[in-house]
């Protein structure tokens, strides 16, 4: 099993990065590798949502879990725990991937979203994410999110954005796994 490169989307002062083609039944698993997503605004959350085939808007129902792990540059603070501020219970908002990303010139966030069997018309759509960011308070912050998109309609579009302000720069590479 290997990764097959499909496409790259690059932000340039963009409110969102949307991928509306290439997500279909060709692969049973898709990975979205986002690299150095740099926000225009300090202290913002990087998020994603999907759109079901034939649907309108990025607003599918999501139930998710969220764990964060952090350590600060001053070597004085560490934590590993569940973060109830990041999860959703049948919510239709954008799912948080990383929170409080800093906007200093050297700060950004990177990670992977794995979406399983988006073309299934039998099962809900599971996703697992693993990300790291330069937290605005000068912490390294790892976020581990997982959940499912509670629809049995095929998913064929995905959107990424910060919860406030533009994506100043950064790229998202889409791969098929199989």
């Amino acid at each position: 099993m290997g990764l097959t490169y499909i496409s790259t989307a690059t932000a340039s002062g963009s409110a969102s990065l949307d991928i509306t083609s290439g997500i279909d039944s060709t692969y049973n698993e898709y990975q979205f590798h986002f690299v150095n997503m740099h926000p225009a605004t300090d202290n913002v959350d990087f998020t994603f949502q999907v759109n079901a085939s034939g649907g309108s808007g990025f607003n599918e129902t999501i139930t998710s879990t969220a764990i964060d792990i952090y350590h600060n540059e001053a070597d004085g603070a560490t934590s590993l725990g569940y973060n109830g501020a990041l999860d959703q219970g049948q919510g239709t908002g954008y799912q948080k991937l990383v929170y409080d990303v800093g906007a200093d010139s050297d700060q950004s966030c990177s990670g992977v979203v794995t979406l399983y069997a988006p073309a299934s018309t039998t099962y809900v759509k599971h996703f697992v994410t693993n990300t790291n960011s330069s937290y605005s308070g000068n912490y390294t912050m790892q976020n581990l999110m997982a959940g499912y998109i509670n629809t049995t309609t095929a998913i064929d579009e995905i959107s990424f954005k910060f919860d406030s302000g533009n994506i100043d720069s950064g790229s998202i590479h889409m791969y098929g796994v199989g």
Partner: protein, 107 residues
């Protein structure tokens, strides 16, 4: 603190138009999309400012548990407090925990 309306005005002033990148093509947001995005960004900034104020100064918040976790002394420090409390008959540990609980109150 700025009101929600003030945030909207400020964000609009900073972004007279907005674009989104769709399959590698930059597209200007429609007026409806623009309004929705400005509203979302303003609400997010407004909520964040309230949260930052509570984190700094304390208050009631649905996120009280998260704030408390970040504010409690480390487990090592708490054990040290409990040891000294047991030897000296003091209430350092209980006082420290009570201070955090009082600062970040359950709504």
């Amino acid at each position: 603190m700025a009101t929600l309306a003030q945030w909207k005005k400020q964000i609009k002033a900073q972004n007279s138009s907005l674009t989104k990148m769709v399959d590698g093509v930059s597209i200007e947001l429609t007026s409806a999309e623009y309004k929705k995005t400005i509203d979302e960004w303003a609400q997010s900034s407004f909520d964040q400012e309230i949260a930052a104020n509570i984190k700094e100064n304390g208050g009631k918040s649905p996120n009280y548990a998260q704030y408390r976790v970040e504010a409690y002394p480390s487990i090592g420090d708490q054990l040290d407090m409990q040891y000294h409390d047991s030897v000296n008959g003091t209430t350092t540990w209980a006082d420290a925990i009570a201070t955090v609980k009082a600062k970040y109150a359950k709504p």
